[in-house]
């Protein structure tokens, strides 16, 4: 088992030539396996061809290697177009996430993250009414319009 250290670092030269840097570091322990691939979307919008599936550490046809996702990053490698992901949950509505050009989506369920769906409250309450927590089942492209687009997936898993 090993530690996965994830660093998000921002560096900038801004107006007036001022330089800034900021970063955040997350360490995840107990990592036993990982996958990392860069690919070109082709038919990855069906539930049989997910970018991520809770029952497999492999993308397609991998049997049922059940491990626990600790960290997931999906990056849009296209420099001029966005791509939309469909995040399928165990309960509630599916969630959708648009990745702008070169944007990354990161998710760390091993440190307690989960998705929730909430509709805008009809009673005008300023707080959303939260549905039950949904664990992550699958992530797929929203539709086939993203065929041919390049993407990267990095996932790490605990026992």
């Amino acid at each position: 088992m090993a530690d996965l250290t994830v660093t998000i670092a921002e560096t900038a030269t801004l107006q007036g030539d001022q330089s800034i840097s900021d970063s955040t570091v997350l360490t995840l322990s107990g990592i036993i396996s990982f996958y990392h691939f860069k690919g070109q979307a082709q038919g990855l919008y069906g539930t049989n061809n997910p970018l991520y599936d809770e029952h497999s550490t492999l993308r397609t046809g991998a049997g049922d290697i059940k491990t626990n996702l600790a960290y997931l990053r999906i990056t849009n490698l296209e420099s001029d177009t966005s791509m939309a992901l469909k995040i399928m949950l165990s309960v509630g509505d599916d969630m959708y996430l648009n990745l702008a050009k070169n944007e990354s989506f990161i998710f760390c369920p091993n440190v307690g993250s989960s998705y929730q769906c909430a509709e805008y409250p009809e009673d005008g309450d300023s707080n959303p009414d939260i549905d039950a927590d949904g664990t992550l089942n699958q992530i797929i492209f929203e539709n086939n319009s993203f065929d041919g687009k390049h993407y990267e997936v990095y996932g790490a898993f605990v026992d």
């Binding site: 900038a12 800034i20 990982f34 990392h36 509505d93 959708y96 990267e152």
Partner: protein
Amino acid sequence: MALTTTITEELTLEGSDCGASASIEQGDVVYYDSKIYRLTAGAYSQVVLYRCTSSGSNSPSLGIRYNYNKVKYARITNLDDSDECTISIKTRTSSSSYFQVIIGSGGSFIINDHSQFMNNTTTPSYQIVEEVSASGPIGSEVDVEVFIGYEAA
């Protein structure tokens, strides 16, 4: 002038380097804000409110207001060493809905394009981000960092 954001994964398994990284550069970012807020336990506070075409006249409860189409990068990080927080992203739609994610200790959520966010409706479409709220769990206050990179007005 540019903002470069790099996500780096460092991992060594059985002696093999299993790391990777992804980077994005946004040349039009000229300003930034970095703030730390203490979230109320069990109740949402607006940490970022965006100025939209027909709403957004109020000030957020904790943060400041931005033009949604000028903000190119927003990171919200849970700084607490044990408790989770919930981030709730409201988009501007005719039937408003929230995109919510629970962020564990040390975790982050990033939004780049605030004009093409998507929500959880059954027929998804690109939406403008209107506000980002966050809440600590019931019984615990949680600190979050909000880092915003944006264009000149």
